[in-house]
């Protein structure tokens, strides 16, 4: 079942004024915002709390002239592939631009789960742009998640083995 993913986290952002932190994009409201502080492109990476098959992405912004969104299906935030690229019209000085898209059926990796999504503002309608909110819906990848948990348990168990060996050596 697709759900609105909560506990999103910003793991990278290319600029920012401490008064308008990037986390403002993830607080669930359009009342707060992150502002870019000059030059393009500008980027930020949103990390998901678990592996999700992404279904839909929504962005509320101002003065953005071009979005590129990409996701990384690996464990680390590298090797991103593009899932959306569009030029965006200006909505004026008072209104938010609302950009929403579903993963294309022609996307060869649409069944893959991802943990990191990168947002690139390629250009602006002004020197400065703002993003008020980002929302991502997806389906949790249960098999990859349990695999990850199992691996974690195996690693812990291996650590314990090593510890007991260590103790045994010390006793003798």
């Amino acid at each position: 079942m697709a759900e609105n993913i909560t506990n999103l986290r910003i793991s990278m952002v290319t600029s920012g004024d401490p008064r308008f932190p990037a986390e403002n994009m993830l607080d669930g409201t359009t009342k707060t915002f992150w502002a870019s502080t000059g030059l393009f492109p500008q980027e930020f990476i949103v990390s998901l709390p678990a592996y999700y098959v992404i279904k839909k992405v929504s962005i509320w912004s101002m003065k953005v002239a071009g979005w590129t969104v990409s996701r990384s299906t690996g464990d680390a935030p590298f090797d991103f592939d593009e899932i959306y690229r569009e030029d965006i019209e200006d909505a004026g000085d008072q209104s938010l631009q609302v950009t929403s898209f579903s993963i294309s059926s022609s996307d060869s990796k649409r069944e893959y789960s991802a943990k990191n999504v990168k947002f690139t503002i390629r250009k602006g309608h002004s020197d400065f742009t703002a993003v008020h909110r980002v929302a991502i819906t997806g389906e949790i990848d249960a098999s990859r998640e349990s695999e990850r948990k199992n691996k974690k348990e195996r690693d812990l168990a291996a650590d314990e083995d090593e510890l007991s060996v260590g103790r045994a050596v010390r006793v003798h």
Binding site: G16, D17, L96, F128
Partner: protein
Amino acid sequence: MSTLSLQTSKNVLRCKCIVLGNQGVGKTSLVQVFQSDGAQFPKNYNMTINSEVCVKVVNIPDTNASIEMFLHDIAGHECEGASAFVIVYDVTNPESFASMGRWLQIAKRCRVGKQIHGVLVANKADLDLRRSISRQQGEEFAKANKLAQNVDVDAPFYYLSNMFHEHFEAAVKSFSKAEH
């Protein structure tokens, strides 16, 4: 993993500024003088990206803001995405003054959005005896084209930094007033 750029309480704004004008009017000298006047800033912060782009940091007094001015000393190309410009002419060279209109056109083509701030610089004013473009001619051109005019060597860049900062403050004000 990349770290957040929000670790400091500094607000760093970045401004691409193009320096335009005929060959020999003194663009490179102007940028160099501005860049090496580092009394307020650590020298090593003024890096040269390549021979035509350098960065200079300007602190805005009484705020936590500083502007990284990316100065492009170029012949008019690669000016896409510029937020500010400086047009230079040589007061001893009428041809360089006659070219102002053309440089202004180029500057306007390169701007991001509607806002772009420009300064006109009348250079080589020290060569008084060979002066052929009067101060008044310069002032009239600046006024007619809504440019600020400066005769001091590094004032244009400080002026543009301040304008950029004001522009940012106006932008975030409008971002916070957006309709939901």
